[in-house]
Amino acid sequence: MPAAPVCTAPNTPLPTDTLCCILSNVQVGPTLWIMRLLPQHHAATGQAASGFTCHPGQFVMVGLPETSGVPSFSFRRPMSVYQTHDDGSLSIFYKVHGRGTRLFSELTAGNTLALTGPLGNTLPQDAPPESTLLVGGGIGIAPLVCWASRHLSPSPTRLVYGVHSQADIGISDAIESIFTKEHTLICTDDGSTGFNGNVVAGLTKNPQLTQGITHVLICGPMPMMRATWQFCQTNLPDANVYVSLEEHMPCGTGSCSGCVVDVIDEPLPVKSCQVGPVFLASRLQWATTSVTAGSNA
């Protein structure tokens, strides 16, 4: 996957900056929420916004709209698109981590958020569902579920999902409706459900899940992605392995160079918000990839 040109990759819809009405904001776990947002009008022009279209793997930058009062600066927060709906709305699946996500969790239906998107490249659209393995860690599951939900239902895709504890799954219903039972492995650190151990241990103990796999899509905390990539190099040496990075992204629009990662054969670090967030694992400079990436996924 060569570095994309400076503009958004072809075939992806152009991004817009819109004000969204929160349709719902539902707690689905101790620190997990799903928020559904309906774009209403363009933030700059006030014109009505058409609905939201994107490709799985893309993300949006979400923040409080400007109010004409006290200036109170904050970065927007990058959030993977988790679902898109027929009415043009979209959902994000998020974890309360710090100040920004805590604030999101306090909002209710009818409140307004500002949103820019879709941004970034996409998970591979041509990966065959039946020979693709999804490996998600924590909130990193969001883009993977989005990807699988776009295919046949029930999906022939295999899913390994690592969480700390049963309560942290958050989206059991969605997972059960999209994936078949025999294609799903939940791994918990505390053994409260499914396999007791991390995703790599789970994969090692369940070789049927990797049989015939040609594509692996990974998203989660950096140590988990690193370990999974090592597993793949040994056990699936011919598979195309993709990782979706969650580097800190101050702007998400390719404006600041705050989100860069080192890529093999690229003379300079590349902007993960623009060239990524999805990278072929084999092209990443794993040795220098920032520790901040996916630090709270």
Partner: protein, 314 residues
């Protein structure tokens, strides 16, 4: 009540026609994405590129930014850029398609000779025709002269501007650091050497410590502070520069977050404005400021923004 027309915020400075008075600040703005989001031709006065150095620069280790909730951010990007050749060849023509507004190329180098070489390369390049002016980023350490920041020495500033004037007829805007006892001698020196205007201010030195890790958040400890918390400082500098150099063109930048800030910055003496950090919080900032500034002028019966420029010093 007069209605402010589109031309109410047009400015002609150093022969360049800026269709609006608000530009982006260097290093905080991807013209391609922002053109997709905003249609820049309708609201942006001109594109200022990320600062380019002669050779590609990889920039600093991560993290490079820190959110300072409420007041702004720190950055320590380290001028990552693909180098002049790539910028001239690839980026400039792309930017020329983004709203068809004037393009100001921001340049930085480590010695006067390097600055001269950059100007010569620009003059010789076929894409030179897309470039209306150079912004000379004088906040970098001068490697040739023992690491003194260019922006802290009136002599070095005069030297660079004089040298550049000999190589290029492009208007030069000198971008100055506020991390000095007074910006006035620097601005005087740049103007005397032939600069077409002063860009004030670059970021203010600041730091952040993560009390959990007990370490400075930025690997290089201090970084550049920008956003609403520096607006009072930027306003002070623009007022001070305009009082000292009433005829100089000043491009006001630093913490502009809303229309009230923009109007105050014009009243302080800025003829053009730049918005940086606010682009991160609000990518629609240019359209909104443009609309609000026109509304204000219409309400106040102001037919051209020049009536506002320096009004606070009248």
């Amino acid at each position: 009540m007069t209605t402010a027309t589109a031309s109410a915020t047009q400015q002609t400075i150093a022969g360049i026609e800026f269709p609006h008075c608000i530009l982006n600040a260097s290093g905080c703005f991807n013209p391609v994405t922002f053109h997709q989001l905003n249609h820049l031709g309708a609201c942006l006065g001109g594109i200022v590129t990320k600062t380019t150095t002669p050779e590609p620069r990889p920039g600093n280790p991560l993290p490079r930014t820190v959110e300072l909730p409420g007041v702004g951010m720190l950055n320590s990007i380290g001028l990552q850029n693909p180098g002049l050749t790539h910028v001239l060849q690839q980026d400039i023509p792309t930017f020329a398609d983004c709203g068809n507004v004037p393009i100001i190329l921001s340049i930085a180098a480590c010695s006067t000779a390097e600055f001269a070489d950059m100007a010569a390369a620009i003059e010789a390049h076929p894409h030179r025709r897309h470039i209306q002016a150079l912004e000379v980023n004088l906040s970098c350490p001068n490697v040739a002269k023992g690491g003194v920041d260019f922006g802290k020495s009136p002599e070095l500033i005069a030297d660079i501007i004089t040298t550049l004037k000999q190589v290029t007829p492009l208007p030069l805007f000198a971008k100055l650091t506020p991390n000095v006892a007074s910006m006035v001698p620097m601005a005087e020196s740049a103007m005397a050497a032939g600069a077409s205007g002063i860009v004030a201010i670059n970021t203010v030195l600041g730091a952040h410590i993560n009390i959990h890790s007990k370490k400075a958040t930025l690997p290089r400890i201090s970084g550049g502070y920008s956003g609403p918390g520096i607006f009072p400082i930027a306003l002070h500098h623009v007022l001070t520069l305009k009082r000292a150099l009433p005829t100089a063109t000043i491009i006001g930048v630093g913490g502009i977050s809303n229309a009230e800030n923009a109007i105050a910055m014009l009243m302080a003496g800025a003829s053009l404005l730049q918005v940086g950090t606010q682009c991160f919080a609000n990518p629609s900032v240019f359209g909104q400021l443009h609309q609000q500034l026109h509304q204000y002028m219409a309400d106040e019966g102001i037919t051209h923004m020049d009536e506002l420029v320096g009004a606070a010093l009248a």
